[in-house]
Symmetry: C2
Subunit: 356 residues, 2 copies
DNA sequence: TCGTAGTTGGCAACCGATTGCCGATTTCTT
DNA sequence: AAGAAATCGGCAATCGGTTGCCAACTACGA
């Protein structure tokens, strides 16, 4: 008997037809009561609303979505959910989406372009819009996706797709100035993934800033944007040591510091290290990390808000379609304990393992 | 002109009707070609598949979902996306879901029972199943949800809903034994949220273990499961100091260590601290945290796998419905640098601020 | 009093798949 | 060779809302 437990019984409750019957009106009237208030006589609407509430009626979002396309779902594609960089971004996105009545569909693509495309293919038909957080895909692939659904890219700038990113160039300039002020004359960049747009921007900004301040620059990498990548970076760094390094991100910076310490260097006495993003943990690692802090939470919420604005704009057919907008959010330099004045005399490094 | 840019044009491509017309067959045949292979003649199916591929046909998941209820969506409700505890859980869940062709809908409820219920209400009609990760809701609320959709709770055990949790009791016992072995005779528990099921279990297991080993226990809290909560815990601890503390989780432990150091105590010389979960950062904070490591990734993937098994089981109406299963996954103690032998002489604490 | 405009509710056609049932055709029995 | 069984394609209903169009009714001005 107990089919109260079968999946069939799990199917949802009353429909507009049930409510309509109970009220003696047509289903369309019930529908309009909820989706087009004002179109229905106030008293009728009131009665319908009351009966609906009594019956526990809830509109079936799937049925609504089929003819209208309004699923109230947004996709957020993140490169790596275990990267703390995304935590606050997700939180911001969630908050903004929730406030607007949307739900997030989060896909983790594990730093893989292939998985990213698969996730997009799967998500796109179900969602109203897409946020691509730190996509590894090419600009043209992104454009293809953006043709299918309103899209906002995060942590990247594009001319023909809306975007939100921290002002990497300004942040990098601040970091370089900071190191120059401490007496460093040569800085090494510990690069992130080659496919990363932010990596390109940061490296370029670093060269420009260094040029203006008459500093020498060097580039090592690419390294995976992880602690393990940072460890590898430390070994590469030890092979051609310097007094200061700026890492693509905090994860690499933290890994690099641990690697350097393991190789016998002191931070910041022998080497100063600057990170990027101010992720969770950047304040309690040792030494606490000097880093360029991106407004992560704000980045996430802004991306979703822009997306929703575009969605709403697109509804009214008269308008030409909301213009592409690009926003750069200011980052600031957090000076903590991983940077210091350049040392008089350098420590000798232990011999690192040979290159792979 | 450029309506290639309007939202209308964004609506999806060819339907089974288009494919059917192009092949000279009925739509139902096209449908069956994909959803019930074998039901259609091999040659016909081949032709249809070819034409469909040429036209770029993709089944509309919403249209499929309406009659069948199969949305290929699973909801994961997490207490706080910015809590690193969930990162690896999410990663594990993502991986398992992806492998089974499901997509995750992630809702962050910011440690609020209210938000949790709202998120559930919103998500349930669209998803096939639900994973409740560290729910703050009451058992009875969870049962209500579980009536509507197959549900697996994570980090909690229930008799009538499937669950996956780390073996908190065993882990706690290991931690207590570890401290006892270092000579500590009294241990303080820094408690987490009162609504937390895990908190209750951990505290109870600690008392039992301490009783058997003849140690004294004390309990402080509750504290929010954050670094800030840990800071508060340190102040409370300083008012009635001891030599060892076990925190509800790593976040509290890390915050507590920082707070204790700020108050003039040395860790582990004056106080030993043990955390729970082995979250991101537990290895590179100072001192590196001794902690009970839960198999987070595995927890996440197992929860999703159990859920999917339940979904599949429920499909065949003949079967009675998959039995409720509860799994306890083993945790292990990671001995790092935040615990040490009990000190001969204790440092004096600076006076902490008065209690709030 | 008639005409016109403004309200308001209902009809019915969607949205795009899935699926029970039927009948035509082929294949297998005996 | 006749009947039974298996195969396969099509018809049409269905999931549960949304929405264009129409008709009935009201209200108002001329």
């Amino acid at each position: 008997m107990s089919d109260s437990e079968t999946n069939a019984a799990r199917r949802s409750g009353p429909t507009i037809y049930d409510v309509a019957a109970a009220c003696g009106v047509a289903p369309s009237t019930v529908s309009r009561t909820f989706s087009r208030p004002g179109r229905v006589n106030a008293e009728t609407a009131e009665r319908i609303r009351r009966v609906a509430a009594e019956m526990g009626y809830r509109a079936n979002p799937l049925a609504r979505a089929l003819p209208t396309g309004r699923t109230s779902l947004l996709a957020v594609i993140v490169a790596d959910v275990t990267n703390p960089f995304f935590f606050d971004i997700l939180r911001g996105a969630e908050t903004a989406a929730d406030a607007a009545g949307y739900t997030l569909l989060v896909a983790d693509v594990q730093e893989s372009v292939d998985a990213e495309r698969r996730a997009l293919d799967r998500a796109i038909p179900m969602v109203e819009g897409v946020v691509l957080a730190t996509s590894r895909m090419s600009d043209s692939s992104i454009r293809v996706a953006a043709k299918q659904r309103p899209t906002v890219v995060l942590n990247r700038s594009m001319t023909d797709v809306s975007s939100v990113a921290p002002d990497n160039a300004r942040g990098m300039r601040r970091a370089v100035e900071h190191l120059a002020g401490l007496g460093h004359t040569s800085i090494t960049y510990l690069a992130g993934p080659e496919a990363s747009w932010a990596d390109g921007i940061r490296w370029q900004a670093m060269r420009e800033a260094a040029y203006e301040l008459d500093l020498k620059v060097k580039r090592l990498g690419p390294f995976p944007p992880t602690q393990a990548g940072g460890l590898a970076a430390a070994q590469a760094f030890a092979r051609s040591p310097g007094t200061a390094a700026i890492a693509y991100n905090d994860l690499i910076a933290i890994g690099a510091i641990r690697g350097m310490i393991r190789l016998g260097a002191r931070v910041p006495q022998d080497v100063s290290v600057v990170g990027f993003d101010n992720i969770f943990g950047a304040d309690f690692c040792t030494p606490a990390l000097t880093t360029v802090a991106a407004p992560l939470r704000h980045l996430g919420s802004l991306a979703v808000e822009m997306l929703i604005r575009e969605l709403r704009g697109g509804t009214r057919r008269s308008e030409p379609r909301t213009a592409v907008r690009s926003m750069l959010l200011p980052s600031r330099l957090l000076e903590r304990a991983s940077t210091g004045p350049v040392a008089r005399r350098r420590r000798t490094w232990r011999t690192p393992p040979a290159a792979a």
